[in-house]
Amino acid sequence: MKTTFTLVLLGAVAAAALTLAGGTAHAYPQFQMSRDQTCTGCHYSPAGGGLLNENGLATAEGISQFGTAPEFFYGKIPTPSSLVLGGDLRGASGYVATPEKLLATFPMQVETYGRAALPAGFSVYVNLGLRSPEFGKEGKTYVWSREHYVTWQQNPGENSGLYVRAGRFMPVFGLRFVEHPDYTRKWGGTPLYADTYGLAVEYIQPKFEGHITGFVKDPTWDTPEHSNGVAAIGEYRVTEKFSVGAESMYTQSVNDKKIRVGAVSKLALPFDTLLQFEGQFMNQLVDPRGAPKQIIAYLMASKSLDPAFLIDLGLGYFNENVAIKQLDREAFDLNFHWFATSHIELLFTGRFETLAFGSGGPNAGYALTQLHYRL
C-alpha cells in the first residue's frame, strides 16, 4: 500500500513537473532584430524551431562561451549535404509551489530531427521523439513523430520567399516563444502538443512575413488538440529595430468555437535589449448560455550579456472571463540563459503567479534549473 502510494505520488509529481515545464524546442525570438530579422535566418522551418541552418549553427557557436563545433554530434557523423540531422534533449530540476511545495526532477524533451532536401525546391522534415504513453496503449506511443511535413520553397538555399508546407506541425501563430508555460502559448492557442495536420502558405522577406495555416485535428489518434481551424499572422518590420504585426485564429471543436484576434510587436532597444509583446482577445462560444471573452497577454524584456548570457523578464496576463471579477492571472517570470557551448544551454527559470493580484486565490510559483543539450 505504501509502495503504491509512493508510486502514485511520484507519478503525480512527474505529471506536475511535465505540466510546468515540459517543452519542445522552438525558436529563440529573443535573438530577432539584434541578429536576424526572421526565424529563417537561423532555422530551416519558416516558422522557426527545430533544426538550425548554417547561419543558425554559426550563431550557436558564436554566442556560446566555450564555442565548440556546432554541427550534429560535433561534425563526427558525416551526412550528405542534402541531409541535416539534429535533436534536443532537455531535463529540469527544481522547486515548485503551486501552492503545494515540491522538489522535482524530470525529463522534458527527447527529440531527434531530420531534413532531406529534394529536387525542385521540395524537402521533407521528420521529427521522432519520446513522450508520455497514451492511456491503455502504453507500448505503442512511447515513440512518436510530433512533426512531419513536406515543404516546397520558392528559393531553395535561401531564407526568404514563398514556402508551402503540408503535414503535421504547430499552426503558425503568435511570438512562438520557446517556453510553453508562457501565457500566450499555454492559454493563447499553441499549448504543448497542439500540433495538427495542416497546410501552411508562408511568405517571408526581411521587411515582412505572413503565415496562414489551415489545420485539422490528428485523425489517427486522440491527441490533446480537438479542434479544426485556421490561423494567420503577419509581421511588418517598420525599421530594423521595430516591428508590428496582427494575428487571428478560428478553431472549432465538437463543443466550442474560439475566435482569437491579437497583435504582436518587437522593439530593439539600446544595449542589446529587446522588448516583445503579444496580446490576444479571445471569444469562446461554449453554448448559447456561455461565451467567455478572454484576454491573454505577454510582455518580455530580454537583454543579451557577454553574449553567452541572456536574461529575460516576462509579465503575463490572462483573464479567463473579462465580465467576471477576480478571474485574472498574472505571471512574473525571470529566465537566465547560459549558452555554455555550441550544444549546451543551462537555463534558470522562475515564475511567481498570482490570481487577481492575490485576491482571487492562492499564489503559486516555481524555480527550476533546465539543462538543454542540442545534438
Binding site: L9, G11, A12, A15, A16, L18, T19, L20, G22, V96, T98, P99, E100, S132, P133, E134, F135, G136, W187, P191, L192, W221, D222, P224, H226, V244, S253, V254, N255, D256, A263, S265, F277, G279, F281, Q284, V286, D287, R289, G290, P292, K293, I295, A297, Y317, N319, E320, N321, V322, A323, I324, Q326, L327, R329, E353, L355, A356, G360, G361, A364
Partner: protein, 120 residues
C-alpha cells in the same frame, strides 16, 4: 499603441464586471474551466487520461465526472475536494481561481446537471 488599446479594454471590462453569473452547466464547466486548466496534454486529456480521468471534451468529462461528483453534495465530491484541499491540490501547475471553484460548487449543489446522475 496596441498596448494602450489592451489597457483600455481591460479597464473597460473592469468597469462592467459582474460577480459570478456564469452558467453552471456541464458544458460551461468543462470547456471554460476544466479543459484549459486540467485537460491539457500530459494530464487529464483523452490521450493521457491520468488516473483514468479525462476532462478535455464534454463527452469525456461526463464519464469522468460521473465518478467523482455526488450531485447536491460538493463537500463529498472528490472533484471539489481535490480543487480545495491543501495537500495534493489540483491542478498541480497553477491553482484555479476561487470564482471557478465556486462555480463548480454551485453546479454540484444544483445537482450537477448534464451528468445524468440520480440525486441522492
Amino acid at each position: 499603441m496596441h498596448r494602450l488599446v489592451l489597457v483600455g479594454a481591460i479597464a473597460l471590462a473592469a468597469c462592467t464586471q459582474t460577480d459570478n453569473d456564469r452558467p453552471a452547466t456541464l458544458e460551461y464547466v468543462t470547456e471554460a474551466i476544466l479543459q484549459p486548466s486540467c485537460g491539457q496534454y500530459d494530464c487529464h486529456s483523452s490521450f493521457a487520461r491520468t488516473k483514468g480521468y479525462a476532462f478535455d471534451t464534454v463527452a469525456e468529462a461526463k464519464q469522468s465526472l460521473g465518478r467523482i461528483v455526488i450531485p447536491t453534495d460538493p463537500d463529498a465530491s472528490l472533484l471539489y475536494v481535490v480543487l480545495t484541499r491543501q495537500i495534493k491540490r489540483m491542478p498541480y501547475d497553477s491553482p484555479l481561481p476561487d470564482k471557478d471553484i465556486a462555480l463548480i460548487r454551485t453546479w454540484i449543489t444544483d445537482g450537477a446537471p448534464g451528468l445524468g446522475l440520480d440525486i441522492p
